[in-house]
Symmetry: none
Amino acid sequence: MPVAVSGCRVLPVTALPALGQVRVVLSHTSHPGNIGAAARAMKTMGLTRLVLVNPKLFPDRQADAMAAGATDVLAAAQVVTTLSEALAGTVLAVAMSARRRELAVPPLWAREAATEIAAASTMGEVALVFGNETAGLSNEELLQCRRWAMIPVNPEFSSLNVAAAVQVMCYELRLAMEMPGPPPEISGAGLPATHDEVEHLVAHIERAALNSEFLDPASPKRLILRMRRLFSRAVIEKEEVNILRGLLAALEK
Amino acid sequence: MPVAVSGCRVLPVTALPALGQVRVVLSHTSHPGNIGAAARAMKTMGLTRLVLVNPKLFPDRQADAMAAGATDVLAAAQVVTTLSEALAGTVLAVAMSARRRELAVPPLWAREAATEIAAASTMGEVALVFGNETAGLSNEELLQCRRWAMIPVNPEFSSLNVAAAVQVMCYELRLAMEMPGPPPEISGAGLPATHDEVEHLVAHIERAALNSEFLDPASPKRLILRMRRLFSRAVIEKEEVNILRGLLAALEK
């Protein structure tokens, strides 16, 4: 049931952005205490779905201690070995990053990201991805996410704790989803492709480029990076993925 | 010179809202680790003035550990014995509370509170007051503050860690006081393709689809329309056109 947080806006149930559609993905977290604190941060804002990519230590007593009353979130957490598994089935993944990157779509600010996630959550599952405490997310991880976002920080001390970043983002999501703006007007738009559909398309292009000897031997990765970036920016749709893959398959014959 | 702070509000430069005008007051904090984590949270958002009312343990090794690079905030922290001393000289004090109180003044939401604090900071020093981890602020403490505010939380699990609450409020203050500029420019975005480059790409796809017998005989135009829509939505770039045409040509061989 929709709950008015501040004001009295009530949306139809079928189009309600839902916190339950959001998974928080923590990649390569070093300190189990941060996993616990992140679980607590999530639950205070009404989020419950935690996915851990290669945590250094989990489960762990320190994670339980820091989770306080959110041990149920930890108990239900899914542990996987690759970010790709963590993102399977999502229609939008937003990577959180503290630093600038090359070859990426432009970043969003945290608040804008929350708005995008809220809108996308009406269409399917979404993910918010946080990297390792020291290194953050790798470029490879970041490129698997359709969008990336930054929390505005003091440029002279940008060392936001990972659980604190989870807290800020979950807070923004709670506000964005429980006090949503008008739904986006997209006429003629189809369903967005899921993470795995895009990955299969990228893999197909790479295969076709290799077999046809098209890959630039000087920078074999660049072609794939550019294609990823194009599909991200466009928010590529299911039907478009199907057309491109169908065309590739026909040409490969 | 007038400076736009947020939207259409215009303030004279002499009265700019300033994060340096804000003191964070932690009253009767039990765990020194929370004091350290609060200092770190403050500094990431550009706040530096910490006042501690009767902390259970301070200074403390655990506070230093949790502060990470914000030990300077701890070193400069003022320790006092009453909330009244902590608030001396302020023009506005906002008490943070997690629960509803039987008080004459209605609470503000966190974001509204940040706006009020930003406005008041143009007139003098302001304080944001956080209570003990278990008991929160006493009614007596709360009544010493002109305003009180709540962070919207999950009503079924409202147990926000005190440093996490400091993080959320300092984040809101940073946004209210220092409107972030546009996100940093990302190099790596290329030149957009020209109209004729896109037309040649579309023609190339159509040719390849015909020759490979991929075109859907039921709706031959639809494929091309979808591709046009994708490229225009993405604002496709020169290099991307070149990659796609190169790949098509290689596959056609």
